[in-house]
């Protein structure tokens, strides 16, 4: 699998787009989606919620387990992906595209975000 170069990555396996107008898009990586198996339920934060880097803001339920969804940054939720709530399999089929999870107005960043190459090395090890 290849991790898109233009994104940055958390060690909790979220990806984060560059902040356009201060707003970044967040999803989980293909590596994480593969590890989860078929995702069957996603619980996302609500628009207007304040999120904190490294803290849980939702959950992803797969056939075998449930995983916390963490925000990679401090910020305020400005949009959530209703398509993925309606069809959680988008997380598996298009984790970097249609399976995005939420958009956040970034007010502070987690220090340890990785580049694509660093994340690839991180998940290989």
């Amino acid at each position: 699998m290849s991790n898109p170069q233009q994104l940055r990555y958390s060690k909790e396996h979220e990806w984060l787009s560059a902040a356009a107008d201060g707003v970044s898009t967040v999803g989980i990586t293909e590596h994480a989606a593969n590890a989860l198996g078929d995702v069957v339920f996603v619980q996302l934060p609500e628009v207007g919620d304040a999120v904190t880097a490294g803290e849980s803001c939702g959950e992803l339920e797969s056939t075998k387990s449930v995983s916390e969804l963490y925000s990679p940054v401090d910020g305020e939720i400005v949009e959530v992906n209703q398509d993925v709530v309606d069809d959680p399999s988008l997380v598996n089929s298009a984790p970097f595209e249609g399976g995005w999870l939420f958009k956040v107005r970034v007010t502070g960043e987690q220090e340890e975000l990785l580049s694509a190459d660093e994340y690839t090395a991180y998940t290989a090890g």
């Binding site: 593969n34 198996g37 078929d38 339920f41 339920e61 056939t63 075998k64 449930v66």
Partner: protein, 373 residues
């Protein structure tokens, strides 16, 4: 088994890796969890056919003039009454009635049985049978390394197997097994399984496993057979309402507590391990119904997991033993032990505590899914 110990590998290990399987540690074995999407694998078994490597299951041969008498003493079922060529679902219990394992016993010949134990309990069952064989003219042999086990399950499985064997599959009933040849390989062909579908389990020598797997793959290619992992095996058996040791069954429960008292055959001749305790358990169950194993179907989409509390009116009334999203029903389902007062299908007000939220669930009879015959 601790994580520092070497995982055991089946004869099909390299093949699983070449197929891109996600592997998992299961009872000390490195087993395929899934090859692609577990939901697709599940659906394939329900509608077409699936191929499973079950070589981790524990085979124990029991032979000799008193093999039947030994098994009647060691297990709770009437094993002497099984006709050669047939198989029976049974249990092995402790003296206190607690379930050590659930088993399938094949009677291969008059004085020859094959006992198949769960991987996680194989050593326990072997030790118990050896211990209980004292004084019987019978031999208990660890045959775990003698067999690879491949299952082909699903509505297309009879057709697939027929193209590879001359054995009389039409004459082979459910819960029966006969020796034969499949794709040129000697096999015990058993019409058993753990998916709720028609299907076969093929016991072969490990050195024949790859050859047999590949022959089945080729024979099933035209009708949509796919390799399947343990993940979909679990959702298949859950939909079919079949108990899993460590979830619905444990040493803390007798067969009567598990709603499976029918497997205990008090009428058989002679004593058997657990008889006295099981008599008491049967009387207790008759006088005061224990918690009942029921099905729960979610109204929402959050999935109940083993150990979650079942609640009603703010009170804990039971516990989930297995839960998963059901690919066939399209909703989360669970098996749970609940107080008898709340066990009737349709009982209002039942929920599952899912990480602090009481999600509504409907009580339904088991199984969730029954195949059309």
């Amino acid at each position: 088994m601790s994580s520092t110990e070497e995982l055991r590998h089946t004869a099909l290990d390299a093949l699983h890796r070449s197929l891109g399987a996600t592997m998992t540690d299961f009872a000390g074995w490195d087993m395929p969890l899934r090859y692609g999407s577990e939901r697709d694998e599940h659906t394939a078994v329900r509608t077409r056919a699936g191929l499973f490597d079950l070589s981790h299951m524990g085979e124990i041969a029991v032979t000799g003039p008193q093999a039947a008498a030994l098994l009647d003493f060691a297990l709770v079922g009437n094993i002497g009454g099984v006709k050669p060529g047939r198989a029976r679902y049974t249990m092995i219990c402790r003296a206190d009635g607690g379930i050590l394992d659930d088993l399938i016993v094949y009677r291969l010949a008059e004085t020859e049985y094959l006992v198949v134990a769960n991987a996680s309990n194989a050593q326990t069952v072997l030790d118990a049978l050896v211990e209980r064989s004292a004084g019987f003219d019978a031999e208990v042999r660890d045959d775990r390394d003698a067999y690879a086990l491949i299952a082909v399950q699903g509505p297309e499985s009879p057709g697939i197997l027929k193209s590879l064997t001359d054995a009389d599959l039409d004459g082979l009933k459910y819960y029966a097994g006969l020796p034969g040849t499949v794709a040129g390989v000697p096999a015990l062909i058993a019409r058993t399984g753990y998916t709720g579908e028609d299907g076969f389990e093929l016991f072969v020598k490990p050195e024949h496993a790859v050859e047999l797997w590949q022959a089945l793959t080729e024979a099933g290619a035209g009708v949509g057979l796919v390799p399947c992992g343990l993940s979909c095996r679990d959702t298949l058996r859950l939909e079919a309402g079949m108990p899993l040791y460590g979830h619905e069954l444990s040493t803390a429960l007798t067969p009567f507590d598990a709603g499976l008292g029918r497997v205990v055959k008090f009428e058989k001749e002679g004593d058997f391990v657990g008889r006295e305790a099981l008599q008491e358990a049967a009387e207790r169950a008759a006088a005061k119904p224990p918690r009942v194993l029921v099905g729960l179907v979610a109204e929402g989409r959050r999935v109940p997991r083993a150990g979650f509390s079942v609640v009603s009116g703010g009170e804990v009334i039971g516990e989930v033993t297995s839960g998963a999203p059901s690919p066939t029903l399209g909703k989360p389902i669970a098996m749970a032990y609940v107080d008898a007062a709340h066990a009737a299908p349709g009982t209002p007000g039942v929920g599952v505590d899912i990480r602090g939220t009481h999600e509504p669930y409907e009580v339904v009879p088991l199984p969730f899914y029954k195949r059309q015959k």
